[in-house]
């Protein structure tokens, strides 16, 4: 079985559609959503509905810090610029959509895999996995053989060894066979708001039979997503960064 993984979708409908199409072409039949469905982008309603439908079909989704802030309608939690988007998002989602976000779990364990938005060492504190030390903490906090998280927008793969975990920057699209003799932590990268200088949407797949992991970069119509952000009157900077991927 091949699982498609999306993280940090950030209300970007075009990016989600493109990633889903690419992952379906790669043979994915199940979905895992690693949090931050909303925030920054102009189509939170569409993205929440899409995830809700998948979850109704057995997909797994976890809560992200933006999802939590939007549910609370908390415009102050991440500064005034993001706060404006948070308040706007809260205002355009209906009660059912907000209730769905509110009901998302912080983490889910499925067989030998852990799905969580932030660092597994303190998932509710929204700690990042942005370096080898943080990755080591996250890996040591769970017995799971393979963890997936988001929150950090750059794709990465960490693996446990003596000392600090090692870091690998995926880039070639080559499927990576994950050894069962050590433990791994994979970050698919942000679907809806890439920040590594490449505007293409990021996502990943994992094959439970072959134990292979694939990182994908999918080009999508980011100009359209940016237009929608401007049309909604959201801060310009969130439109601009989509075309530059910063």
């Amino acid at each position: 079985m091949r699982i498609g993984l999306l993280a940090d979708l950030h209300a970007n409908r075009e990016a989600v559609e493109a990633c889903v199409k690419a992952l379906e072409a790669a043979g994915c039949g199940r979905w895992v959503i690693l949090g931050d469905l909303v925030g920054y982008g102009a189509e939170p309603g569409w993205v929440v509905d899409w995830v809700r439908e998948r979850v109704a079909d057995g997909a797994i989704a976890v809560l992200g810090n933006h999802d939590q802030a939007v549910v609370a309608g908390n415009a102050d939690s991440m500064g005034p610029v993001i706060g404006a988007v948070t308040a706007w998002t809260h205002s355009v989602l209906d009660q059912q959509q907000l209730a769905f976000l509110d009901g998302l779990p912080l983490q889910v364990v499925d067989e030998d895999r852990l799905y969580v938005h932030a660092n597994a060492a303190a998932p509710a504190d929204w700690a990042y996995v942005s370096n080898r030390l943080a990755a080591t903490k996250s890996l040591l906090a769970t017995p799971a053989w393979l963890s997936f998280c988001g929150h950090v927008h750059e794709p990465a793969l960490y693996y446990l060894q003596a000392g600090s975990a090692s870091h690998f920057a995926p880039g070639s699209g080559v499927a990576i066979p994950l050894s069962s003799q050590r433990r791994w932590l994979a970050i698919p990268g942000s679907c809806g708001q890439p920040r590594d200088g490449n505007p293409a949407a990021a996502c990943a797949w994992f094959d439970t039979a072959t134990r292979q992991l694939g990182f994908l970069r999918v080009p999508y119509n980011h100009e359209l997503s940016a237009q929608k952000i401007r049309a909604a009157g959201l801060p310009q900077v969130f439109a601009q960064r989509l075309s530059e991927g910063f």
Binding site: A162, F168, S172, V174, A175, P177, S179, S180, Q181, R182
Partner: protein, 483 residues
């Protein structure tokens, strides 16, 4: 506790048949499988208490890499897993001995050394093109196998426990402080911890060829880290000083492989194979005539160069074989169209300029009536051959390429297209450049050489046409657009 292994034990879908080899690092069992009818080998590393961690990780690396590499120069992979605590891996068992078996016969005849070296370099080229660097090339890991279908020899590479895949996580990269490799063969940069340079394999192959040609190891078999580092500043004794039967061209090739600065070695395994296959075309330098050991001055030079490579280590960039391509330009000496000649030269110039490590083979085909006739043996044939070589050199003169970047070859064959396609395949040519001729009555009758080469060669083909030479009848010549 390690599992007790015995004949008849079922591991995964495989059944143990007999213990074939009991080594210090692992055991090899012959195994069978109900649906697989090729001979199979199961490798099981020792996991007893006290075994080195590096050994365990090495096997993990091998299990990770073997399923993703393929081709005729590696054993076919059939599966891997864990049986209780015991990891295992099954691959095809190939007939043949490793080159280690030849070590009791050294020194080998130089022609045989070159032949084996070319086969090994071709195998490494295949591996490097799959983005994998072996990092433990030595006689014991080079299996000489005779293909039962065509009776041709080839080298199959064994043991990928230290290998590095450019696009996959490197489980060995930073885990161990000691250099990983076999002390007699390991490249100097590898001693310093560099694991992403394909030219490290060319150094190790150079040590192997040195050993086959002289019976000696150029840097001995040091047992300490310090001893291994000695190759950074100590020049090896020249092979011809140990065995005068070694020709100058072979010494040139071997010593170039053993350069401490990887930039001075062959840029690719394919270029090394090319020189080993064409001894008469090897550009000789001071290496060919070196005697004994370079003096203290040469040692210092080597040492300074090695300091430089230590700086490079931190950059951590790996070399892409595609930046040092082998280019073939096919020249039809019979045709006389100055515009096409110039267009062909211009295209060749452009292709050679894009990659500074590119090498050019200028090739022409001398038609012989049929295979089996050897016009080369008589005086007339020799003079026809020499005449063509002179013409090729004349054709290439204005390209102004340094001697070591260009070679000249007169092929013989009944069909020009067949000769070019065969040559490109057996010499691992990356890019073939040739001219399209105008429309002639003969062309209509016989078909075009270039269209066959485009269709059948296993490399990139560029067909050059002089602007004024556009064929009037598009069906008559060359590949049609989009072909």
């Amino acid at each position: 506790m390690p599992v007790k292994l015995h004949a008849g034990l079922k591991i995964g879908e495989f059944t143990l048949v007999e213990l074939l080899h009991e080594g210090g690092m692992s055991r090899l069992w012959g195994v069978s499988h109900a649906q697989i009818d090729v001979p199979l080998l199961m490798k099981l590393p020792r996991i007893d208490y006290g075994e080195a961690v590096s050994q365990v990780v090495s096997f993990e690396v091998e299990r990770m890499l073997m399923p993703v590499i393929g081709g005729v120069h590696v054993p076919r992979f059939f599966g891997s897993g864990e049986f209780e605590d015991q990891p295992w891996l099954v691959m095809q068992q190939l007939e043949g001995d490793t080159l280690e078996a030849l070590l009791k016969l050294v020194p080998l005849a130089p022609a045989r050394v070159a032949q084996l070296g070319a086969l090994a370099a071709q195998a490494l080229d295949d591996l490097h093109r799959q983005h994998v660097i072996h990092l433990d090339v030595k006689p014991g890991n080079l299996l000489l196998h005779v293909d039962p279908t065509n009776r041709q020899e080839r080298i199959v590479l064994l043991d990928f426990g230290l290998s590095h895949h450019v696009d996959l996580p490197d489980l060995l990269a930073e885990q161990f402080d000691v250099p990983m490799g076999t002390s007699a063969y390991i490249a100097p940069e590898q001693v310093l911890g560099v694991r992403n340079d394909p030219r490290s394999d060319l150094f190790a192959l150079g040590v192997t060829l040195y050993q086959l040609a002289t019976g000696n190891l150029p840097f001995g078999t040091p047992t300490s880290n310090h001893g291994m580092k000695r190759r950074l500043y100590q020049e090896p004794i020249a092979p011809r000083s140990l065995n005068p039967a070694v020709p100058r061209w072979l010494q040139e090739i071997i010593l170039r492989c053993l350069e401490v600065d990887a930039n001075l070695r062959y840029p690719t395994a394919a270029q090394l194979a090319f020189d080993l296959l064409h001894p008469e075309q090897v550009a000789l330098t001071g290496r060919a005539d070196r005697r004994q050991q370079g003096g203290r001055l040469a040692g210092w030079r080597r040492w300074f160069v090695s300091l430089g490579s230590r700086v490079e280590r931190s950059e951590g960039k790996s070399v892409d074989a595609s930046r040092a391509p082998l280019i073939l330009v096919a020249i039809d000496l019979k045709q006389s169209n100055p515009a096409l000649d110039e267009a062909l030269r211009e295209m060749t110039r452009r292709v050679m300029q894009t990659a500074t490590d590119a090498r050019l083979a200028c090739v022409t085909v001398m038609r012989v009536a049929r295979i089996g006739v050897e016009p080369n043996l008589d005086a007339e044939g020799r003079s026809r051959h020499v005449k063509r070589l002179i013409a090729l050199r004349h054709w290439a003169r204005s390209l102004n390429l340094a001697e070591q970047r260009i070679t000249f070859h007169v092929l013989e064959g009944a069909e020009a297209a067949d000769a070019l396609i065969d040559y490109a395949r057996s010499n691992a040519i990356d890019h073939l450049v040739m001219g399209a001729r105008g429309v002639t009555g003969m062309r209509r009758l016989l078909g075009s050489v270039s269209s066959r080469v485009v269709a059948e060669a296993n490399c990139t083909v560029t067909v050059v046409r002089a602007r004024a030479d556009t064929p009037r009848d598009p069906d008559a010549d060359g590949p049609t657009p989009g072909a």
